[in-house]
Symmetry: C2
Subunit: 260 residues, 2 copies
DNA sequence: ATCTGTGAATTGTTTCACAGCT
DNA sequence: AGCTGTGAAACAATTCACAGAT
């Protein structure tokens, strides 16, 4: 997903399903935890439980990578960690830039698991001149003017956008023009990119809205079936005077602050 | 996804596909922008472009909601905004608590689009006593001790977890016990919840790893001469007889962890 | 003439269930 | 006996392509 038209028509190559790729990081995390506890082998059942999936799916997923297990025994933890890391491209080091150092950008910069496996924050970039030089997570913030040279000098191919929605497309364009080919977008806006560039988005309000949908459905279903543990009686709060479009932020839904 | 069990075999209800539900917020955002520009109607083609999907998909999605368009004309923007809002449950106000007010929690609390559409931050909760009373985004942080009473007093059914991974499951358990039935998890860990509770996760490192996978593939594709991936010899064990050939081995050597 | 709504075809994903290896 | 690996079946999502409404 994400890329509109990337498909090389007939790349009979290593066709790992996208759904599987999206789960590999989950398996990797579970395996890493086992590795740290020096657990030597694990069955598909155990590993699946740790990753929150079912074992048939896990086995099918692994079958796309190769036959890395041992029948009657399970999977060798260290070996699998290595194989999945390699498959995900984590045996190399990916320099990443974060653009937009507001609360969210700072949170991302401070995120531990970031630097830990394969990724390295090469630079923090913000449009506010007052931020320039200020260290965040031990890294001095640089001004947007430097964006192109930073990308090029560090060979950055992955960029993280944590700016307000209004600035996101512009930042995206500059990142792409400078050579970035993968973008993780935290701004609540749809980014348009050329073919060959991957975009993934993380969007708080979308996630909340999906939850609200299901939540609403649960509430309307109270007539049926068993009564759940919690007394979902008094849901629904008062202030209901809002509905269609009288919000402050121009659709923008500005994300985590940041001096614009 | 998210909901573990849920088998309601023949709920003749309004079975909107999950993939469609996940796109409704996207359409809603695009429509809200149009609404603010006082655009009266929009075609599936235009709206699809604004939302970053193709028009056939959009029409199919809308067909699950009902027939809200006019052939030869398009969709009435205001009407659609209302219908989708209603479908998503945004015509009511959802009180939300955020647990874990670090950089990320603060970023979430400050997130504009949060309060703007149907969601209201009912409380900010943190385990650090030193945070108690301190206002973040204009809302005083409360101590974890108050968690249960906050949930109950405010009729909160949606909780956001922005704590460190180590605390997430514990917080989750308390939220669920207090009556929360939808959770948005930002902590990099798998949460276990009872049936009937929805969990959605947002995970930076998973997203980056997925990008790295695709990035790696792009790199290996443009320079076909270099190190053409692994000589996937042992893939697909249909190789008759001997199988334990030295598989793996991108360029360098591997920490030969024994494949049995 | 245009654009929606939707069956039918296609493509992708998950689950089943069991053969085959250890 | 136990557990993986995988065809085949079931299910889900997407795309096609056109009938039908305005």
């Amino acid at each position: 997903m994400a890329t509109g038209r990337t498909h090389r028509p007939a790349t009979r190559s290593r066709g790992i399903p996208e759904a599987t790729v999206a789960r590999l990081p989950l398996y990797l995390r579970a395996l890493t935890a086992l590795s740290e506890r020096s657990v030597p082998t694990v069955s598909s059942e155990e590993l699946a439980a740790a990753a929150g999936v079912n074992s048939a799916k896990l086995r099918k997923d692994f079958s796309y990578l190769g036959s890395y297990g041992t029948r009657g025994v399970g999977y060798d933890v260290e070996y699998l960690v290595y194989q999945i890391s390699r498959e995900l491209g984590l045996t190399q080091d990916w320099p990443v830039v974060i653009v937009g150092i507001g609360n969210l950008g700072a949170a991302l910069a401070n995120y531990g698991g970031f630097a830990s496996r394969g990724f390295r924050v090469a630079a923090l970039i913000d449009a506010d001149p007052a931020m320039a030089g200020k260290p965040v997570a031990g890294i001095p913030v640089q001004h947007t003017d430097e964006l192109e040279s930073i990308i090029q000098d560090n060979g950055v191919s992955i960029g993280v956008i944590a700016t307000p929605a209004g600035a996101a497309q512009q930042v995206c364009d500059r990142l792409v023009a400078a050579g970035v080919t993968s973008i993780l977008n935290f701004a609540p806006t749809v980014l348009t990119v050329p073919d060959g560039v991957d975009v993934r988005k993380v969007d708080l309000s979308i996630e909340l809205q999906i939850l609200a949908f299901h939540e609403q459905r649960k509430a309307g279903e109270e007539a049926t079936a068993e009564a759940p543990a919690a007394p979902a009686a008094a849901r629904r709060s008062s202030a209901s005077g809002r509905d269609s479009g009288t919000d402050q932020g121009p659709d923008g839904d500005v994300p985590a602050v940041m001096p614009a």
